[in-house]
């Protein structure tokens, strides 16, 4: 436990950890400010109507100038282009947008008893989108954590103090998993909290009931668990290659090239891909395009098995290879 505590302290004190967290907090604040500024408290306000009039006039002008979109608009008998366009672009009311921020945009509420597979174009909610960045950031942090040890040679210094290599390795594993999970939870929670003012003062909290809140907690925990797993993958690959950059290269090469190729060439293998299984864990459902059905628990177990293999291989190599420089 002492080693784990030391590694946690080191992890939190590292500049790369602090920079990544600071960057994430700055981005969250920026996003929250944008949402707040672009939201509008009421519906059909004078500002909304003015915007709608302006938008409609622009559309009407475009229609007239193009001669009814190049003749695509059918004219009624005795009707000129202007009249036809007036009819085609609709009334000002059609252009009034609801600019209220809905709190349920954080995580779309599941209204259906029997939830259907998600459409690829479906909005996964704000937390679904930020989860991707959280996972990428966590993987980078995990890789740099051990990569710095190898880069600066401090792993040799540490092993000269604690020669039981498995103990050292798994202390670092525990620290990486714990720190990345907690930071992911904090950041995802911060995303949610940062949007609450927009919903309260410039939007609506309709639909944000206790059931929805449980769903939000669930996605925060699941995305954080994925973040911790990604951090461990980054850590293990960097440990195998003794290099941060190599680990990041391998990880992104795998996700961007290998998995994309498999999806294109061997769609029947999709069920075994990290991306697909991560999606199932995060959203609790398959993509509509997926050719398989799997529960979140099954997908989680598959990801755990992959994680175990990579971390196990890294642990084995860590205990056997020389620390020569």
């Amino acid at each position: 436990m002492r080693l784990v505590g030391i590694e946690i302290r080191r992890g939190l004190a590292r500049r790369s950890t602090r920079v990544l967290v600071a960057l994430a907090v700055a981005l969250i604040a920026f996003m929250a400010a944008l949402v707040f500024l672009n939201s509008r408290a009421g519906v059909n306000t004078a500002e909304d109507r003015a915007d709608a009039v302006r938008d409609r006039s622009a559309e009407l002008g475009s229609c007239i100038q193009s001669g009814g979109y190049g003749g695509e608009i059918s004219k009624a008998p005795g009707e000129d282009v202007r009249e036809a366009c007036e009819r085609a672009v609709g009334s000002v009311e059609d252009y009034v947008q609801d600019k209220r921020f809905e709190l349920t945009a954080l995580w779309p509420k599941d209204d259906d008893e029997q939830r259907q597979p998600a459409d690829e174009d479906d909005d996964g909610g704000v937390l679904g989108v930020t989860a991707i960045f959280v996972v990428i950031g966590a993987m980078m942090a995990g890789a740099t954590f051990i990569g710095a040890d190898w880069r600066y040679g401090t792993i040799g210094t540490l092993l000269a103090w604690e020669p039981r290599r498995l103990r050292v390795f798994f202390a670092k594993v525990a620290a990486v998993a714990l720190v990345s999970f907690v930071i992911c939870v904090v950041l995802q929670s911060l995303v949610g909290l940062s949007l609450v003012p927009s919903a309260v003062w410039r939007g609506t909290t309709d639909g944000a009931d206790s059931e929805w809140f449980v769903g939000v907690i669930g996605v925060v925990l699941r995305s954080s668990a994925l973040g911790a797993g990604a951090a461990l993958i980054g850590y293990a690959v960097a440990s195998l290659g003794r290099n941060t950059a190599a680990a990041l290269g391998v990880a992104f090469g795998y996700v961007a090239v290998f998995e994309a190729l498999v999806r294109g060439l061997k769609p029947q293998w999709q069920r075994w891909l990290i991306g697909e299984n991560s999606t199932v864990v995060l959203f609790g459902e398959q993509l509509e395009s997926a050719s398989f059905e799997r529960t979140s628990v099954e997908a989680g177990l598959i990801l755990l098995a992959y994680l175990g293999m990579v971390v196990g291989a890294a642990a084995l190599m860590f205990t056997r290879r020389d620390v020569a420089a």
Partner: protein
């Protein structure tokens, strides 16, 4: 009566005479940095080799490479380092010094043979004794983004060492004023000091230092040497790997010389210096050629040393015979002194002149 710190238990248990070299119990809580109450006064008082602190038997290490031939870094090395004092581990670059040190610290797995530290196998049982060993391997490798204090604090926590001891060590190594600066702003010499501080944190019984004087200025080297000497005099075993001959000659009690991964010579420094040599005297005379002929006729072997000096192979106690013989022949000696052999000369002879540095004289 002197109290033997627990850190020196190994030497005390196996070499009862070594307790004479215990630190002054009144001068410090832990005794490590206390002024030594006595300095050993001759090779005869060094602990016996019966219980070596470091023991290496038939150690081999071969590095395999993806391309090209494998490299034999250590080739059947045997070594025994006795309790207490400063032991120099000397060899040219690439001789296998650092690899040996890494084997001792469990960082490198030997291809064959074994290494033992305080009686424990370095591959299987190092954890049992690592708390009694401090080490610095080459340039101390610490986190550059952390301060010196934070680096030591983190390492100290591994062994349950608190901030008070960290402050003591920082004071001792002369880094207290810069303790809160980031290590990346330190000079090489300061990093070296910090590395030594890390090695001393645990109040070690055995110190293993690989090229500890790298990057130190002459004043730093002198301080460093005095500190190591003091630690050695306290009864700790200080194992110093170096290619700086002057440093080793003036610091160490015993020395081992290796080349190409093999032991070439080992023993007290004085013994190694005179190994295979007949002692001699140097005489400065006005006519060297004639003096050589006169001495030759008298049965003494003499060779020209400089343009006006010659070396006579004769026991130093019989130096008067040289002056008398030459004076009888009308050749008067203007200077007569014993021939001094330094480690550099011996080293060059033993290793065939491999890559060395003369080091800094005291």
């Amino acid at each position: 009566m002197a109290v033997m710190p627990t850190a020196l238990a190994w030497c005390a248990d196996r070499n009862p005479g070594a307790s004479d070299r215990s630190p002054n119990p009144t001068s410090g809580e832990r005794g490590v940095f206390a002024p030594s109450p006595r300095r050993h006064d001759g090779w005869g008082k060094l602990p016996s080799l019966s219980a070596p602190v470091i023991e290496v038997e038939g150690l081999r290490k071969q590095y395999r490479r993806l391309r090209g031939q494998p490299t034999m870094a250590i080739d059947g090395l045997d070594l025994a380092v006795p309790c207490g004092g400063v032991f120099g581990f000397l060899g040219p670059n690439g001789a296998g010094k650092t690899t040996t040190v890494r084997c001792l610290l469990g960082l490198v797995r030997p291809s064959a043979g074994r290494a033992r530290l305080l009686g424990h196998d370095c591959q299987r049982d190092l954890a049992a004794v690592i708390g009694r060993v401090g080490s610095v391997v080459e340039t101390p490798l610490l986190f550059p983004g952390f301060s010196g204090r934070r680096n030591l604090t983190l390492l100290g926590r591994v062994a349950g060492i608190g901030p008070r001891r960290v402050d003591e060590v920082l004071e001792l190594i002369g880094l207290a004023a810069r303790a809160n600066d980031k290590v990346k702003g330190y000079s090489l010499g300061m990093r070296q000091r910090l590395g030594l501080g890390a090695a001393l944190l645990r109040d070690p019984e055995v110190l293993i230092l690989d090229e500890p004087a790298n990057g130190l200025d002459p004043a730093g080297i002198k301080e460093f040497r005095e500190l190591l000497r003091r630690l050695g005099n306290e009864g700790r075993t200080v194992f110093v790997s170096s290619h700086l001959l002057g440093e080793v000659q003036h610091l160490c009690d015993r020395v081992a010389i290796i080349a190409r991964g093999r032991l070439i010579a080992s023993g007290p420094v004085a013994d190694v210096l005179t190994r295979g040599r007949t002692s001699g005297v140097i005489a400065r005379v006005p006519d060297v050629e004639r003096a050589i002929a006169v001495l030759d006729a008298a049965g003494m072997l003499a060779v020209r040393a400089e343009h006006d000096a010659l070396v006579v192979s004769i026991d130093r106690m019989r130096a008067a015979e040289v002056t008398r013989t030459l004076a009888d022949a009308g050749i008067y000696v203007s200077e007569l002194r014993p021939e001094e052999v330094d480690l550099e000369t011996v080293f060059l002879e033993l290793t065939g002149g491999a890559d060395i540095a003369p080091g800094v004289a005291p």
